[in-house]
Amino acid sequence: MLSKSQARAFFLGGTVVTFLIFIVLTIYSFMPSNDQTNFKDIDKDVVRGKEIWESNNCMGCHSIMGEGGYYAPELTKVVDRRGEGYIKAVLMSPIPWAPKGRKMVAYKMSQEDADAMVAYFKWIGKINLNGFDRIVSPLAKDRITDQQKIK
């Protein structure tokens, strides 16, 4: 039967080994050769877009890459689905946007901030999400497929 010291060794040994593997995998994930995010394309507009995204807690309602509040639509590949004009109209609207009854806060953004948000969404839209982007935004996938068929 397991003794208390063996149980302690199991805990300490297991913890140390898994933490070390975790750290190694983290480093491996962010090696430039494994980049799936087009990291080099992050410019000041994308960073500004992320600042606006966070300072307004957009994630409290929407989700991005599947993470968020599940109350408002997923915004991965939103530019493909809706187009820049629609997104800017929503963000700059002086009255709450309420598609199909659900109200959004009227952020009344400036043109510059709305441009930054679009740049941020465009950068997100190009990330390789290991297949999730095709599940979460079927409209974008279908649209792209349709366009390819036309060509």
Partner: protein, 417 residues
Amino acid sequence: MGFDRIGLQGLHEIIPFNTARAVHTNLLVVWLLTGFMGAAYYIIPEEAQCELISVRWAYIQLISLALVGVIAIVGFHFNHWEGRKFLEIPRELDYLVVVNVLLFLGLILGTLFKGRRKTTTALVLTMGLVFAALLYIPGMIWFDSQVMDSFFRWWVVHLWVEGVWELIMGGILSYLLIKLTGVDREVIEKWLYVIIGLTFLSGVLGTGHHYYYIGVNKIWLVVGGIFSALEPLAFLAMALFAVNMYRKGEKSHPNKLALFWTIGSAIVSFIGAGLLGFAHTLPQTNLYTHGTLVTAMHGHYAFWGAYAMIVLAIISYALPNLTGRKRYNNTIGNMAFWISNIGILGMTVAFGVAGVAQVYMERKLKMDFMDVQNEIAIHFVVLLICATMFTIGIGMYMYEFIKYGTPTDEALINDNQ
């Protein structure tokens, strides 16, 4: 939030959904941390056989933590936050949290080192609290990349919830089982090591289930898939451990309410965190459920079972000892337990049905997000009914807590008799 989801948005201008949600999740986190800290202030001096090194500083720590929480929540209503799920407290307040937690750890570690006895239970509980503090740091770093931001946000959120908080839960559970069942400390603490060993063995690399679809390497699909599938084992072990110790127990402690909450916590955490987590943790399933209400189903029952119930258990155990009122087994206390548990179970089922329906309509049938939301709104009516029941149960617990929460000399009188 439930009313918002069924289209009743009268408070939208004052409390939009993202504000309500940030208040909801941050209140949970602050309440649980306060509960863990309170448990540590109660357990550590007893385990170490030494008085807390400074009660005055402990009060200062509690009041300042509460103040930071209140300031954060008021700030949310004025659009002042960090806007990162579960870590919405703005960065300037993060620094105050760090100072506060350092003060707390100083008091606990000081007491532990000054004490005559260093038990495994006390060491595990303290280790959990120290790691919880350390893991807060990665969440304070700014990243230009949303992917890196998400990646390291999970270092805080996942490694707290599915890692070090389980150490804290294990420590409190172990303490309660020693007190309530009378089983030998050596036996209980041996199994405590095994359980927390399983927790870290599966939970650390199990973080990978958050990395499947956020823009990092596919290796996480394999690593996260395997190790997160093992995560229910730790919760299963915890449930079996609690039930077995209860059966083995030679002592019949009169505090039945504390026993109910303790054993209940071990069982419900296995269902909520273990089984419901496993239901959508494999990458093949998670591809469709990621970012849907299926996550909310798992999250609500897991947090309730693993953490809220264990905090309510330690309160139920400690309060009669602190006040001298032997309210060990009374109607209101029992009703509070059952009504709140039935209420949250109903909420979990409502979230689950809504989530599965959402997955099929949105991800399989490719319906528009808002069309799906309108279709599943009826499940939120059910959720609101169950949430009302849950609130009544918690209200009864609070009634007991407030009415009988002050010290009395009842115990002294009984002793004299």
